[in-house]
């Protein structure tokens, strides 16, 4: 199994002004391709330090993958550092130069010397084409066969270069290696400890595939990671464990591999031909935003009202002022009335409402910060849920929105489940 180290280049990383998301992205792709990532590093825009870091990494690993420092400015020094570390020189790469000249001609701008410099690559390197920008990447190979692969730091240039050029190069070079394939099950309505309790035996015994639980605000991920020489083998190893996990967590696994609660809830609504409306107070538009983040939401989602003040709850949702006066805006009665009002005003089949105390102020002994009432009205009847959510304003708002979608999804699943704060 080849061993690789990753180096991110950029002084802003060492000042903490930028979070390095390139290295985790590269690491996950290398893991999938069966390449062992031994360590990652970040170094500043300093030629000698970059060269020293490459040198140190190559003393431990079979190769180095870098991101950043290939731009046209005087701060971009990765290429020079590679030349220093590998004791080679840079030469113009004719096809790249031609492509860049054509590009600058097409936009009617002169090509400057610092752009021309971007077409230089270490002599003998393999060029990694950059379909989204000017600077190409490259793979330089040392006399002993160890390699240095350099890519730009801009994520939308780096990512396709990695997937389309570097990973295929590594697969060709090292053959079909046991890579790590990950399957993520998204779970709602169960806390981390309850999930742990239900799958404890699988969790402890599994080595390959391996299981991991990761908690988020309002949901949990259960990851299954399998290491196998080919994708198909990994999938076959994952399948029976996934089936067992789904059985243990029945009614709570809403999706897999990045699917959202909003996406799944909309899909279930679409199956039944039910149109949805929302009525939001404390969530302030977050439920509607989550639903409209899904492409094609418009055929199922009619719209919503953000009734932030009481007058709006009455004027736009028809909530009786007497209800608000008797029970308060944060109450089961208000939540149900809001849902009914949204259903009616939007002529929808189903409606979802959330009202609560997001904080930091506005709480009382009786109705503390974090108290949220949710209600769902469908042709099958009404359901409401009281939650006491932890965290600050932002967290309460996010968790309440997530819980409301969880409640809706649960009802559309046709099961008796209520959302749990987790």
């Amino acid at each position: 199994m080849p061993r690789v180290e990753i180096i991110a280049v950029g002084t802003e990383l060492l000042l903490g002004q930028l979070v390095d998301t390139n290295s985790p992205f590269i690491a996950s792709r290398l893991a999938q391709a069966g390449v062992d990532v031994y360590a990652t590093h970040a170094v500043g825009d300093n030629r000698a330090r970059i060269a020293a870091a490459i040198d140190a990494s190559l003393s431990r690993a079979d190769g180095v993958v870098t991101s950043g420092g290939l731009g046209p400015t005087v701060d971009d020094l990765t290429k020079e550092a590679v030349c220093d570390a590998l004791e080679v020189r840079c030469v113009p790469h004719a096809p790249t130069l031609a492509r860049m000249e054509a590009f600058f001609a097409s936009i009617g701008r002169p090509m400057r010397e610092n752009n021309r410099k971007q077409a230089d690559i270490p002599v003998g390197s393999v060029v990694l084409e950059n379909a989204r920008g000017t600077a190409p990447g490259f793979i330089a190979v040392r006399a002993d066969g160890k390699f240095v692969a350099c890519m730009p730091g801009v994520p939308h240039e780096m990512r396709p270069m990695l997937d389309e050029h570097l990973i295929p190069y590594l697969r060709q070079r090292y053959g079909s290696l046991p890579g790590v394939v990950t399957r993520v099950l998204h779970v709602t309505g169960l806390g981390e400890s309850e999930i742990d309790h239900r799958i404890d035996d699988l969790f402890r015994s599994a080595e390959n595939p391996k299981i991991a639980i990761l908690a988020h605000a309002g949901s949990c991920d259960v990851k299954i990671m399998a290491k196998a020489p080919a994708r198909e083998q990994a999938d076959a190893m994952i399948a029976p464990l996934e089936e067992e996990l789904r059985a243990r967590l029945r009614g709570h696994v809403f999706g897999a591999d990045g699917e959202t609660l909003a996406e799944r809830a909309l899909a279930l609504l679409r199956e039944r031909g039910w149109r949805l409306a929302t009525a939001e107070s404390c969530t302030g538009g977050r439920i509607a935003a989550a639903l409209t983040a899904v492409a094609g939401a418009s055929d199922v989602f009619a719209g919503g009202v953000v009734a932030y003040e009481n007058a709006a709850k009455s004027a736009l949702l028809g909530v009786d002022r007497a209800t608000l006066a008797a029970h308060g805006a944060v109450s089961e009665e208000a939540a149900r009335a809001m849902a009914r009002g949204a259903r009616e005003r939007f002529s929808a089949v189903a409606a979802l409402a959330a009202t609560g105390v997001a904080g930091p102020s506005g709480g009382s002994d009786e109705k503390p910060v974090g108290l949220v009432w949710l209600a769902v009205v469908t042709p099958r009847g009404e359901r409401s849920v009281r939650l006491q959510l932890p965290g600050g304003r932002e967290e309460v708002q996010a968790r309440a929105a997530q819980a409301s979608l969880s409640l809706l999804w649960g009802i559309m699943q046709d099961r008796e489940a209520s959302p749990q704060p987790s």
Copy 2:
């Protein structure tokens, strides 16, 4: 100036399953304290590799700061690795052990051997108290005076430990050093290249304070970074440059140091006593969500309608069906009618509307994906703006929401400005 390297410990970092946000946080705090961060690294949960990484860092730097690997499980090996690297042994720290025993007694749970292990620290270390968890941090000092400071990986435990204990220790040890103080100006309505053009001379000549421009979706940050022995000196160095930059970017600097457009727009509305309502189509609740993210928004923000389908635009906002039929839902007329409708229905003083084609489908030659119409209605009249935004669905939605707040802020500023996609 002392030189430090940062090491993040955790195999999940090398699998790309977790983005390391601890190292940038530590780096920024060290920069402020005048400590030079030479490099950062991530290593897996492997005792020998962690020890080797510490050893390598100490060969280049005066100290190492680590995060992660202090928990109670068999995978937590940072402490053992420090002992190996520094050739010392671990001993129980009596006050920590007593505190942990009291904690477990208070929650009525037995304290297990693996928790007891957490009270061990390398002999002779300075203990860094953990106010939010069980594992203490520590600073171990090698015979040559170089140090290794270890903190837990959980951010809400690590951050206060860093601020309250480690940084004060370093300040005491190294005295008052020239630290980096950063002031960030948030700019809207000007693209990166226009900002660069306006401040080019300052940008090129400034060394200390130094200037950097960072583009986001819909806004730009102009950073001023000053290095000085004390906060007051840095502030004094920043002040004249900030004044000059604000003059050059007059009417476009909406806030500083993390203030949001929503926050600033709400503040201007509050000053005038104007209540706001929103009418959203393509932004799907994102404008309302941005406004309600601000604590205390309720005294200025009445609420909004997410009128995702045409029927809702008519039913809830009173938009004339003839207007929609004649001009379409994505049109200047529809945007203005939506804003007028929201203003009326919520009995608000001002209203903001957005309607557009978020994509990926629904675009046409005449109205392509990314076309967005914004409208603002206030007692001073109506304003509308047509935008053609780049990017996918998520980016169009986010940029449109940002641009609408920019338009509102600009109008509340009492100036002639229109939002620019940037």
